[in-house]
Amino acid sequence: MPDLKIRKFVTAVEDIFHERGPAPAKPRKRGWCLAVIGNPFAGRYVADIQPFMEDLKPLGMEMAQRLIAALGTDPKDIDGYGKGIIVGAAGELEHAALWHAPGGYSMREHLPDSLAIVPSSKKVGGPGTRLDIPVTHKTAAYVRSHFDSVEVGIDDSPRADEMLVALVMTVGPRIHSRSGGLEVSGIKVKDGQK
């Protein structure tokens, strides 16, 4: 990663046992991996920014691997995902869009049956800014039991000339899911939606 300056990684996993109702047999898991990296375009307007996507690809792969290892789960059981990015104050929202391809494909590369588009959120913000990252089912985006979001952030990041990139993976439906709609058992079309 010649042009990539990594300052830190934060990896977190939640095991959710119940949400004040009957506890499911298996706890739900939600995990996220965050990387804080230098923004090569901070403080100036650069027209051609797309080459940086190539530099982000190996980072995405490493983050996906870190996250799968932290979840400690067979990748086939990881069934929800999302991605996000916070760009520091000296950058622009357009820089955030560079994360779409490398972030999304790094997870789809590792997770079987990941046909659905990876939902995402982005913003410009300072250290401690919180970002809500949407989560959907990896095979069929309309599966209602897996719609969720995960809030992430780091107290010391991103500095003005940095970016905070994020990947989120989840295992299992929302605890006590009971709002109907398309269920995992009803996935048929295999078009990434239904």
Partner: protein, 194 residues
């Protein structure tokens, strides 16, 4: 299981560079955080021994989870800390009952030794409140390079009748320490101070 645990979050923070300087090996901190029901929410109860027992249980559980997250032997843990955040229908004294009487012994077992006081903080607050866990060297409180703090927060906890209990450990001190004082290689580790 004495505690009614709704969820557990484990987070690892790994610093690879700071102010343009490479941090090698990376400094690493891990925190394990449990969200538990407060059995005494909304009422005054004189005898807090139930919370003391919960503290004993969580000292071992969270200590082991945090050490496991770093993937090192217990003897390689260098610093530690603990904290509790009580939801609005509880008392600060509930945090004290969890943290002080019984949590330390199983935590020290999880990190092998631990001659020094486990630094702590406590507060009351609502969901998403940041909790800063103080960190100090586990065998010698005067080791200046290891004074630190780790912020944790969970957007959906604590609810009014819950308590968030956190343990943090590191296998390193701050990145780029250079303010002098007692060095870790000078530690005798007998009196907890030096």
């Amino acid at each position: 299981m004495k505690a009614n645990i709704r969820k557990i979050m484990v987070v690892i923070d790994e610093v690879h560079s700071e102010q343009g300087q490479t941090v090698s090996p990376p400094t690493r901190r891990a925190a394990a955080v449990a969200v538990i029901a407060n059995p005494f929410a909304g009422k005054f109860v004189a005898d807090l021994s139930e919370l003391m027992d919960i503290g004993e249980e969580l000292g071992g559980l969270l200590g082991e989870k945090a050490v496991a997250a770093l993937g090192v032997a217990p003897s390689q843990i260098e610093s530690y800390g603990k904290a509790a955040l009580v939801g609005e229908n509880g008392e600060l004294e509930h945090a004290a009952a969890i943290l002080h009487p019984k949590l330390g012994k199983p935590l020290r077992a999880a990190v092998e030794k631990g001659a020094a006081l486990v630094p702590s903080s406590k507060k009351r607050g609502g969901m998403g409140t940041p909790l800063d866990i103080p960190l100090g060297h586990k065998d010698a409180a005067f080791v200046r390079s290891h004074f630190d703090g780790m912020e944790v927060r969970i957007n959906d906890a604590p609810r009014a009748d819950e308590i968030l209990v956190a343990v943090a450990v590191t296998d390193s001190g701050r990145p780029l320490p250079r303010v002098g004082g007692l060095q870790k290689h000078e530690v005798k580790g007998e009196d907890g101070l030096r």
